[in-house]
């Protein structure tokens, strides 16, 4: 049986990872011995759903794991684990990897679902900018909170990964904290707030200021993946427009902007053309971040849970923002530097300080701002 593994790896042995990291779906200790030894998978048979279900259904313990645990912990042990997870995520900027909460499969989703999502991701990478339909699952969070991004992250996460989650550039807002805790609990991977240390960064609406590097993956949460939706409500028609590369309507939107405001007033979800072919919605990131997508060394994945679409931009791919010859694409400019760290040329958030109109502009990327302040950079700290 063990000899057949090299020829026909079982579905959950981690062969579907994008970067060929082993280890997900099983503990490190289990990796030493061939997994699924007790399983009736023969090398030639297509695995069936029932292969993934444990012999004794454990209805109270969440989704079934394809890896039968050798020794399931008692309820007391599980409670202790849960307590640890809560303590760990309570404070600090980084958490070491630890044993995941039992009862859930590694990173919450079952291995069959992860494989399905990975197939969609691979197809998306093969056809940059093309929206691949996938069977989006119900996640334990409402639509609009990042169900698409969470599913993509769950599908690509490996035991050795270090996860960072940001929401509007910040590591400490509700959405970011909840998702980071979710994966800390269900997968036990290490988490961080430092962009440079992370291997997987799930983001809502920002690209970190620190330049991304090879080997990193940026996962976007996407509410509406269809860039043509503004002009064409029919899905059948937009698909045809994509297939025939009829993107004239996209420029109608920009034309309307100029005719109304004198300049292209679209400031977020600014449409881009990927690899000279598909027009793509970069999710509601500010157009300030569009240039960072062009030729980015990191892999960029986009997940839309409610709309059930996954798309991707492979590393070092041309991403061009649409514009007119006489109204070229331009990013936002800020007149003041960050009030906390004095950074220029970064995206700033406006913070209202009181009801007398005092406000302050500070870095939207909290990690970038903290890093600069730790290095001794200081802003004016004053309201404008």
């Amino acid at each position: 049986m063990s000899g057949t593994h090299t020829v026909f790896p079982p579905p959950s042995a981690g062969e579907g990872t994008l970067r060929n990291r082993g280890g997900e779906g099983s503990d490190g200790a289990e990796r030493s011995s061939p997994p699924h030894e007790d399983r009736a998978l023969s090398g030639s048979r297509v695995p069936l759903l029932r292969d993934f279900v444990p012999a004794q259904p454990l209805l109270t313990q969440g989704p079934p794991s394809p890896i039968p645990s050798r020794a399931r912990p008692t309820w007391d042990e599980q409670d202790a684990n849960l307590g640890q997870a809560r303590d760990r995520s309570g404070g600090g900027s980084a958490a070491e990897p630890s044993a995941p909460q039992s009862g859930y499969n590694f990173a919450y989703l079952d291995e069959g679902t992860k494989r399905m999502i990975r197939r969609a991701i691979l197809k998306g990478i093969a056809v940059p900018g093309y929206q691949v339909p996938f069977a989006s699952r119900e996640m334990p969070m409402p639509y609009g909170w990042g169900t698409g991004g969470v599913q993509v992250t769950a599908a690509i996460l490996g035991r050795a990964d270090v996860l960072k989650v940001i929401d509007q550039g910040a590591d400490d807002t509700t959405n970011a904290v909840s998702i980071r805790r979710f994966f800390a609990k269900t997968s036990g991977v290490a988490t961080t707030t430092r962009t440079a240390e992370a291997t997987v960064i799930q983001t809502r609406h920002r690209i970190p200021e620190t330049p991304l590097t090879e080997g990193q993956t940026l996962v976007y949460q996407v509410p509406i993946p269809e860039p043509l939706r503004y002009l064409e409500p029919r899905e059948t028609e937009t698909r045809q427009l994509h297939a025939l590369a009829e993107y004239g309507a996209m420029h109608v939107k920009l034309y309307e902007d100029i005719s109304r405001h004198g300049h292209i007033a679209t400031t977020y979800a600014y449409p881009v053309e990927v690899a000279g072919r598909y027009v793509m919605d970069p999710s509601p990131t500010p157009k300030f971040d569009n240039p960072k997508m062009d030729g980015c060394p990191a892999l960029q994945l986009f997940g839309a849970g409610r709309e059930r679409r996954i798309y991707a931009v492979p590393p070092y791919t041309r991403v061009r923002s649409l514009d007119f010859e006489d109204h070229p694409f331009r990013v936002q400019e800020f007149t003041h530097p960050c009030a906390l760290c004095g950074a220029k040329g970064v995206y700033l958030d406006e913070v209202l300080l009181d009801d007398a109109g005092n406000r302050m502009f500070v870095c939207s990327d909290t990690d970038h701002c903290e890093g600069r302040r730790a290095d001794g950079h200081v802003g004016t700290g004053e309201a404008i």
């Binding site: 045809q240 025939l244 009829e246 004239g248 309507a249 109608v252 034309y255 005719s259 007119f324 010859e325």
Partner: protein
């Protein structure tokens, strides 16, 4: 006589057991205006949809002389090629302007869309062309940034014409363009269509139930009844000296003012 621009042969379409269009054949030469008349339900609009390849015929062919001079069967073109032809060399002015226009987009954007679809990426040039065309269809230049939802019925139809003609098409299909408009607006629109088609040398197929419209605009008339073309000929001849009993009935039914 010059070579035909459009060649229709044996076009037949059934909706179940009902015959909507039976064995229709005709040629259209460049610059010619053909009116298709008949009462409601006679198959006029079905015929127009068949020619525009919006419907697939049960049998028969529609061939079009491309810009390279070759006559090609439209059914043999790729989907992309057919769509490209429809939005460059053809125009379609619809009875219901809300179907032919983007109601939420400004008049200038409506006129400019075809240009942007062809790859024009210079805002100033697109706008200049849009202004030029609004002038030619007698829409005030100050309305360029207003959406057609704020336009009157006659203005919407004129905007539709501008939107279609901006790419200098050679063939324009019109489906009852003047119905629902009051007579003075109708007269103005007819003048405009007549002037533009003469100036630009457009070939036009106009579907109408109004014989006065057919007399004003068209060189030739085809009379349809129950899916069949029962009489064709020069407009004056058909309207002044109808041969078929049904055409005689149709002509005599027109109320004199």
């Amino acid at each position: 006589m010059s070579e035909p621009l459009l060649q229709v042969r044996g076009l037949t379409k059934r909706y179940g057991a009902r015959l909507a269009c039976a064995d229709v054949s005709f040629d259209l030469v460049p610059g010619e205006v053909l009116a298709i008349v008949g009462e409601s339900g006679s198959g006029k609009s079905t015929l127009l949809s068949l020619i525009a390849t919006e419907l697939a015929p049960d049998s028969g062919t529609v061939s079009y002389r491309m810009r390279d001079g070759a006559l090609r069967d439209l059914a043999g073109l790729s989907e992309a090629g057919r769509r490209a032809l429809m939005r460059t060399d053809w125009g379609f002015v619809r009875q219901d302007a809300t179907k032919g226009l983007r109601m939420a987009v400004s008049a200038g954007g409506n006129v400019g869309e075809r240009l942007m679809g062809l790859g024009e990426r210079h805002y100033g040039r697109i706008r200049a062309q849009a202004l030029d065309w609004l002038g030619r269809v007698e829409i005030d230049a100050g309305r360029i940034d207003d959406p057609p939802s704020q336009f009157s019925g006659g203005m919407r139809q004129r905007l539709q014409i501008a939107r279609n003609l901006v790419t200098a098409p050679r063939l324009v299909l019109m489906d009852e363009p003047t119905s629902g408009l009051d007579v003075s607006v109708q007269a103005r629109l007819l003048d405009l269509i007549r002037r533009l088609s003469a100036e630009l040398g457009l070939a036009v197929i106009i579907v109408t139930h109004d014989l006065a419209v057919a007399r004003l605009l068209s060189h030739r008339i085809a009379v349809m009844r129950a899916g069949r073309v029962i009489e064709t000929g020069l407009t004056d001849r058909v309207l002044d000296d109808p041969e078929h009993a049904y055409t005689q009935l149709l002509v005599s039914s027109v109320l004199a003012a």
